[in-house]
Assembly symmetry: C2
Homo-oligomer: 403 residues x 2
């Protein structure tokens, strides 16, 4: 039929039984007449265990040696998976990142894929072999092992699918697909059959931890058809593509909640030009990303500037800005970590002005107060009190997806 790249995450390959299950999925895909390239993460906690080992020896180990260490995790899961396939009589070969020709830049621990030399994989496919490739890793121009950072295996899979011009790239995970909201706490959450790359990007950055953003960006760029599905349930998942089919009346693709957020407020900032610029350049230099920004109208020669950052970054951001208190000229900084960001995402928004209003209406009906608002072409986000988070998602979801 075609060439399919399948990626299996750490949970899917955590032990012998699950590795056998993965091998069965691969074998079944091949039996249907497909060529298969499978990309595997390290088993379960292997990577964290290796990091602990390193920390015990040297908490400030170089990234080069960390990559040398961590890359063993995928080599173990891949060779074991190949053995499972061998036991089923499936011809197979496992390849490390360097054997698979995954060339990266030299940014150890967070390398970017530059090019994939597919000769070896292609020759193994031509010999009728299933090819298992270690995710998360490659080789740089010095001949050293690099890793791609968190979510790197998704990126490896998409990069391989692009380089091999695969017909489909399936990302197997522990959820059955992308939902209209988190099914663990939203009643009536439905699995989406299809979703666009842009929607997926917004959802990923909003805390729907299904696919790593880098991989979706790459898939969009190289037009790789993605499918997110579960390695445990034998069901179709969610297809991620350029244009998604959607039922007429569902205007948005999903509702997402992101708890990793905090609100900072610079109170009584002197009302002089360039202050906002100064604040956000300072934060940017320290790699602190600012999301929603609200600048109050000036009064008595001062104004307030509120903005959100990742909750993990809040303390560092406060400390940094306080160092420049004199230059910036503000009275004090408020930090609120008890907030949550709730967002709706949908390509349909572009043509429908009433969507944001519907969302605000749902929150008003549920008696939920909105602190801040931010919008993009395919997204509306609101900042709420954390205690309102789940009720807000449910109310919005009912409004858009309710019967």
């Amino acid at each position: 039929m075609g060439l399919i790249v399948q990626k299996f995450g750490g949970t899917s390959v955590a032990n012998a039984e699950r590795l056998r299950n993965v091998a069965q999925i691969i074998a079944e895909t091949r039996r249907m007449g497909n060529q298969v390239v499978a990309v595997l993460s390290a088993q379960g906690d292997t990577t964290d265990d290796l990091i602990d080992k390193a920390k015990e020896i040297n908490p400030k180990a170089s990234r080069r040696e960390m990559d040398m260490l961590l890359s063993t995790g995928e080599q173990i899961s891949c060779s074991l998976c190949a053995m499972a396939l061998e036991s089923m009589g499936v011809p197979v070969v496992s390849l490390t990142g360097w054997q698979a020709g995954v060339q990266t830049n030299s940014a150890y621990s967070s390398a970017r894929v530059k090019k994939i030399r597919t000769e070896r994989i292609q020759s193994e496919l031509d010999r009728n072999n299933v090819v298992i490739v270690t995710g998360f890793q490659g080789i740089n121009k010095f001949g050293d092992v690099t890793t791609l950072g968190r979510g790197g295996s998704d990126t490896s899979a998409v990069a391989l699918a692009a380089a091999l011009k695969a017909d489909l790239c399936q990302i197997y995970t522990d959820v059955e697909g992308v939902y209209t909201a988190d099914p663990r706490y939203v009643t009536g959450a439905k699995k989406l059959e299809e979703i666009t790359f842009d929607e997926m990007l917004e959802l990923a950055s909003l805390g729907a931890q299904v696919l790593h953003n880098r991989s979706v960006e790459m898939a969009k760029k190289f037009r790789v058809n993605l499918e997110v599905l579960s390695s445990f349930a034998k069901k179709p998942g969610t297809k991620v593509k350029e244009v998604a089919k959607r039922m007429e009346k569902t205007l948005i693709s999903g509702v997402a909640k992101d708890k990793n957020v905090a609100r900072l407020a610079l109170v009584e900032v002197e009302d002089k030009p360039g202050i906002a610029y100064q604040v956000f350049s300072l934060l940017g230099k320290e790699n602190i990303n600012v999301d929603i920004i609200l600048q109050s109208i000036g009064r008595d020669g001062t104004q307030d500037i509120s903005f959100t950052v990742r909750r993990d970054d809040a303390d560092q951001a406060k400390k940094l800005l306080e160092e420049y208190k004199g230059t910036l000229g503000f009275d004090h900084i408020d930090v609120d970590k008890g907030v949550v960001k709730v967002s709706i995402v949908g390509a349909g928004m572009l043509d429908n002005a009433g969507i944001a209003a519907s969302m605000f209406g749902a929150l008003y009906d549920a008696d939920i107060n909105i602190q801040m608002i931010s919008t993009s072409e395919i997204k509306v986000s609101v900042l709420l009190d954390e205690s309102d988070g789940n009720a807000a998602v449910q109310a919005i979801h009912d409004k858009f997806f309710g019967e």
Copy 2:
């Protein structure tokens, strides 16, 4: 001063503390003005743990995938050791077998080193780096990872020392060197300052498990100066070289005991030509090595043929020969697993006919009965009842090394 290759075994790198100790030895060697290439085995039981993981998945896994799996063990120990050196401020880089240019043939699990392309190591040394290389592994012409089999890390170290024309190859282990007898049960056993390659080869094959034979053979061939020493005690070890200094009166280098031996006797074999040849070709085909052979003088048209094999091989040898009972024409087979082989080794024997006699005298004085005898140019071995083993070694050791 020079270039030193240092090899550290699995016990020496078993945990964080021991890895730090190894890093200290390397750092100290470098501080003395030497360039250092260190070859490491996998930590402690890592290799066995990985083998267990593989067996759980597929007891008949291909050797190619086993090598892919097992080679991760050394990659872990080497990157961790590099991190330990980094924490001491020592410039260092760890290299896998393929990065270090260790090219082997394609016999997965028991590959032979064909050639080492030293460019990468040399350039790292030129940049003043300590180089840590994974032992036990290389790469074959297909670009696949191979392992060298048991004792492979010793072989890696010697091969690297030969290729780099190192001034010395130090094998760090958990004993302090090579002794005149096993110090665990022989009173007065002394560490040898020097020993010849040939003596070391005989001692290794006789059960003194200090160095792997393949590595000694290679060291002899390429004239690599070896030193066996402990990574725990800061003392000089034993030097293994072409010609060894020895005190005038010590005619032998050591007394060894090998319990992995069994005696088989074919009783009442028909006295016809070619029988011995048939017996030993049959065993040879099954890779059963025969050591001491004793053919009795024929009587009444029959004779007895006794020989020793490894104790592990005794049952298989008996079974095999019984299948050919008709062709070979013997009455029955006796198997005695309660025997032990005690040997003296020494290059000095070549010029001194009285040495074997001294050994037999020592055993006679201790009332120990000799069952079989075998001699080579630098070795005399006797087969004894197992219960006499330790007393025999002590008596012989006293005779040659006693005050």
